[in-house]
Symmetry: C2
Subunit: 207 residues, 2 copies
């Protein structure tokens, strides 16, 4: 808890609330009242900052993307010098943050686009933008690793980077279905195994 005097501004409080409430109840299942209640602000304040619930969701996607960007760019694994070690450490880092409750560790972007892709194209575009931007942060490392491997692959660094995100998004769905993170940890272990096989890393260690 922060002191009342250090509370974030109203817009940020609404966006922080949106991250948790939408990840708990889904986009359509979340009302403006739910968001105002969770943020402790009035409906008037909500509509002062956002034209609509859709407008708020687009801003929440940007807020989530910025939060993720901060988290990953400052994580310790980023300082590893070898691109393959950095790529594998990214997957390990993703595993290490699978803690807390499901709304805390699952992805706002995947949740939003899953249900709103057709009814709210602006939300789908925002989800695509921030998922794709995050995938892009892996591309340079994948390209560097690919360059050290002789056989030209049948896929691009961009495609493998997106594949890692598909695994993570799908792992969240299975975690929701099974009510906890273990299945997602297992999926990230399989992803790690794939990257090691692909790039002739030492075999996956026993656990």
């Amino acid at each position: 808890m922060v002191e009342a005097t250090a509370l974030p501004d109203t817009r940020t409080r609404l966006l922080d609330a949106a991250l948790m409430v939408i990840r708990s109840k889904g986009y359509a299942g979340t009302s403006v009242d739910d968001l105002c209640h969770a943020a402790g602000v009035t409906k008037g304040a909500f509509f002062h900052h956002f034209k609509s619930k859709e407008d708020m969701a687009v801003a929440a996607a940007a807020h989530f993307g910025a939060m993720a960007e901060g988290l990953f760019s400052q994580a310790g694994y980023r300082t590893l010098s070898d691109p393959l070690e950095r790529l594998l450490a990214y997957v390990d880092f993703r595993k290490s943050i699978l803690s807390g409750t499901l709304p805390e560790f699952t992805c706002l972007l995947g949740t939003l686009v899953q249900e709103a892709y057709e009814t709210h194209p602006a939300i789908a575009a925002a989800a695509n933008r921030y998922i794709s931007e995050h995938a892009t942060t892996l591309e340079a490392d994948i390209s560097a690793v690919m360059a050290t491997h002789g056989t030209p692959p049948t896929w691009t660094a961009a495609s493998l980077a997106l594949y890692t995100q598909a695994v993570i998004q799908g792992a969240f769905i299975l975690a929701k279905a099974k009510g906890g993170p273990q299945v997602a940890v297992d999926c990230l272990n399989h992803l790690s195994c794939h990257l090691k096989l692909l790039f002739n890393h030492e075999p996956m260690e026993r656990t």
Copy 2:
């Protein structure tokens, strides 16, 4: 189109409608009126067959699971005699059915559980049941392939089977984000590549 005299019964029409409407608009975004309108039935008829929208969604998950079971059990690839070829052909078959519109080829179960896992535990349980049952259909083939490979893996056949479903669910999310199936095809190619590497199959062919 079928003749009016051959129309399925009201309950089946509602469940068929639910498959399309929920995959288009999400669970919370779909009203009972939407379902009645899509099925061409009255609200009275809806509540004659289902206690609630949640009750209908649980039945729709079962209906979707049964439809998938029929589709996969009767697919040509099931007649292949080699378990590894059958496993790889399963992935190819999943690729071959990535056609039509997004609501036609994406998964009702993943869509339901993504948004309703916390607010509707009965829906989450149904999604988990049918996703897990489908994964189980791959386990015997994976076990048979594993038995022919010397090094004991650090994972189980059940876990690899679930991983294939995570990839498929995540591929659907990226397809929704990007507005078409190509990224999902790419993801299934990476999955196929993983299975081939894992089981020393010949390298992924050039495309």
